[in-house]
Amino acid sequence: MRLRRRLADLAMTGLCALAVGVALVPLASLLWLVVSRGLPGLTPAFLLGRPAPVGDPGGGVGNGIVGTFLMVGLASLLAVPIGVGAGIFLAEEGDGPLGRAIRFVAEVLACVPSIVLGIVAYAVVVIPMGHFSAIAGAVAMALLMVPPLARATEEFVRLVPGTLREASLALGVPAWRTSLRVVVRTALGGITTAMLLAVARAAGETAPLLFTSLNNQYWNLRPDLPTASLTVQIFNFAISPYESWHAQAWSGALALLLLVGVLNLLARFAARDRLGGGSR
């Protein structure tokens, strides 16, 4: 009996290790492919320059990186108040019919493919404005960011122990102040994490930008003009027929991977820092 149990234990451990290995292989090979092909071209000039015509040496994605930051920033201005606000509302009073309706809408919105969100932004922003713009791209990104933000905020706020709320109310602090200054304050680490993850996700999207912000060969900081983004630049490099642009696509992909990776790491630190101290 004991022998059989130990054999079964060993076999299962082996199977688990194998499964982990199988899962890691694609990830490792993907990283290897991007790094090995992208690293040679990842020079300061590439990160700080703007695209050059085919045949010209050099050229870079600097304006695309700036454009991505610009649009993600604008999108956050839209999405964070709405998403975090909705999450707080859902956690605090979301058990009524209004809360159920909001939750349903958020779930549906979360399932909409990102390219459809791009079409929505095209119809709502691009057509009335008459041209492509960073604003339109930001609106599409914001639509993408709101549902996960609302959901994560709700969950983190719900994690705050009810005893803290009671402590605050028992001191004669009104309910709304208690919500903001005790409950949300305690959940802030988690909410920060959710914001960084949403930003990372939006920064990596291409589809919603293709017909909203389009692209731009030049540096641009004006929200009402077409704007380059790292992802759309990678897309354009990659579908071109030119060898040198393919190489730039790989380098751009590596830059994007690093950017998103850093955001994810920051998110993890924010989570560990605040939540670790926040509840015991």
């Binding site: 109310l169 101290g277 015991r280």
Partner: protein
């Protein structure tokens, strides 16, 4: 360290008249009438689930946090009916403070800011250094934390955290302090300190204390109320309840025959 017998009858701080409380269909408090004397300790004892916490929460309307809960009857604080619509629960809770079963300091605030949280969270000034020191001294915690007021309250022991919560409740200068099993998460030494503290605090505050520890009730309180299945079975001078109860149920409970 037994409580000195109350020589003269003291004034009534809270007068509860025929209080009923429900959670949905559960009738948790049934027609309870009780006079709570000023500047004295009233202990609430009784078997688990008999309605002590519910009764206590009605005294500062914390029961309203549960949508299903409701209370009927009259609770007069200095003659004013708390349950009537005219009293603002926020103002009321500044007058009637509460200390909970488990210590619940605010983890995002420092020890100092926890003490003056009642001011800070309300966006008021007034939480000055003197207030912090005075309340921490009153709660017998000052010497242990005076060198690390900026630290997180989570770095304190459970007993210290509970005294911090008492300091926090004292800072808003309440008239009444409700304590729901404040020692249940504490070791015997911390419990003894807490009992000493309660003894000192009753000079200035009216205290209502829920406890499962009968010796604690006997040691600290002037009046004891015995709850049984939602009703107030018997209330009287602590000495009388423990040595010469009128009711059979009380006698069985205080002598450990059930509960």
């Amino acid at each position: 360290m037994s409580a000195a017998p109350q020589a003269s009858p003291t004034a009534t701080k809270i007068s509860v008249e025929r209080l009923d409380a429900w959670y949905g269909a559960t009738h948790a408090v049934r027609g309870v009438s009780l006079e709570i004397p000023d500047r004295a300790v009233t202990a609430l004892i009784g078997p688990s689930g008999c309605g002590k916490s519910t009764f206590l929460r009605c005294l500062n309307r914390m029961h309203e946090l549960l949508p299903s809960a409701r209370a009927e009857g009259r609770v007069l604080l200095d003659g004013e009916d708390l349950l009537s619509g005219e009293v603002d629960p926020v103002d009321l809770r500044r007058r009637v403070g509460m200390v909970f079963q488990r210590p619940n300091p605010f983890p995002t605030l420092s020890i100092r800011d926890n003490v003056i949280a009642g001011f800070k969270l309300n966006g008021m000034r007034g939480g000055r250094a003197e207030t912090v020191e005075r309340c921490l001294r009153q709660a017998a915690l000052w010497d242990e934390v005076k060198d690390r007021l900026g630290a997180s309250p989570l770095s304190l022991s459970g007993g210290q955290q509970q005294r911090l919560c008492i300091a926090r409740a004292l800072a808003v200068e309440p008239e009444v302090l409700l304590m729901d099993e404040p020692a249940s998460a504490l070791d015997p030494i911390a419990t003894a300190r807490l009992e000493e503290l309660i003894h000192e605090l009753k000079e200035r505050y009216t205290i209502v204390l829920v406890t499962h520890n009968l010796q604690q009730a006997a040691r600290t309180s002037d009046q004891t109320a015995f709850f049984y299945m939602g009703e107030l079975a018997e209330a009287g001078r602590t000495e009388q309840i423990f040595t010469n109860p009128r009711e059979r149920r009380t006698e069985d409970y205080v002598t450990g025959k059930f509960g």
